[in-house]
Subunit: 246 residues, 2 copies
Amino acid sequence: MHTRTTPSGPSALARKISIANPLGPDDIGALEAIQSETRSVPAKSDILREGRAFDGPIVLRSGWVYSWKSLSDGRRQIVGFLLPGDLFGLFGHFPKPAPVSLSSLTPVEIADISADALNSLLCRSPALTAAFAWMIERDMTELQEHVVRLGRMNARERTAHLLLELYHRLRAVGLVGDPHFRLPLSQVELSDMLGLSGVHMNRTLRALRREGLIDLQRRWITIADLDRLKLLADFREQAFLGLRQS
Amino acid sequence: MHTRTTPSGPSALARKISIANPLGPDDIGALEAIQSETRSVPAKSDILREGRAFDGPIVLRSGWVYSWKSLSDGRRQIVGFLLPGDLFGLFGHFPKPAPVSLSSLTPVEIADISADALNSLLCRSPALTAAFAWMIERDMTELQEHVVRLGRMNARERTAHLLLELYHRLRAVGLVGDPHFRLPLSQVELSDMLGLSGVHMNRTLRALRREGLIDLQRRWITIADLDRLKLLADFREQAFLGLRQS
DNA sequence: CGAAAAGTTGATCTACATCAACGTGCGTGG
DNA sequence: CCACGCACGTTGATGTAGATCAACTTTTCG
């Protein structure tokens, strides 16, 4: 199921990090050095299963992954998406049950990180430490936004808000051909992210399309009216960019 | 609004840490040493406001705090509760806009942590590093559980699940007189945590009481039927204790 | 004691779920 | 190349959990 390939060019991770914390070439190099060879995983397959042991941190180098949990009667909730450059399991470097499952949406390339190497690297480079802190903080902020979406927004707002989040995250790693990007999610997968039924997800997307807010077809989406979408979703970019230095 | 007092005895933080990672007295001591004097905050007051700058990590030494976000039309979502021994803002040690607001529910004691001191301490003590990693991981797991609650559970399930989470978290720091503990939350505050209206929160609690699952009055709660409550909430302790070593 | 905050209850409304049927594109095997 | 199957999307009809509105009671607290 996993096959080996060679690492690719300038990584999404480096790109993402440099948004808020420009790093020297030595730090970038060190970061690449602690990553294993890239391994490939086909689309629609499990990478990690909730409750099973997992080893150590990974970087997603290309493709889309989602993390999810399920209730014993089969209901499923997607907890978040991993996009290229995203890290997972930074703190899990002692074997213990994974709190979530991880599955690929597309073909995916993953690099493993040595927890020990990372640790000693961070102790040596304050700049890298700051960069990692920023990324972890960002992950938590995204989770918190997700909580607000699910707890206090209606279907249209949730949808608009999520699409804007993905738009910004993908843009940060150069994956948006403005304002057009790949959205490799079925409507049911979207609904499992947004806490809706598949049917209602369909009607909601349909409404957003009819109103000219988005243009979504065959797993590609265009943000047709960014301003109106932001208004609808009560979306504040700043929270997602996290750039402003007070 | 803030007044100074002297630090208290064996801290909830030390207690919480030692659940999964027993530390030597030197580590415990070092941990106390990087905390500032305790400062007190009265009940029902703001500790931090979303979007404002905040300084550095804090430990909650006593009392209850909640973190929350609001939409521009006034809707409010509580993102989580901080209980004694909980950390906040570990990664925020460069001034930047806070992603959430923080308010006290009860009178509260807080100690500030020096980010730099913490950092160098962690580089020196692998045991402490592991302990902190475990706590951060636990925070994230709780957030993910919250996402599942809001996304895929109904009102009764959400309520039961949250009460069980609080029960376990409080028990870990010795604040449960089994199975009876303080729950300093109004029904509206609970509803803002669980994504419900105040009215429906009332009816849900009332139903759980009528069915003999809980006994809640004047901000004290007794888990009357732990097993039935766990069943209702599809609650898996292990996820919250995080002790099992694969 | 009085006022404000919190809790309770009933009536009504609605966003979303559920059920069911059907359409459409696409890959696979005959 | 067609046919079949299957995943995915679409649409209508109907059901329901929970929101909203409004009144009232009880508790808390200055």
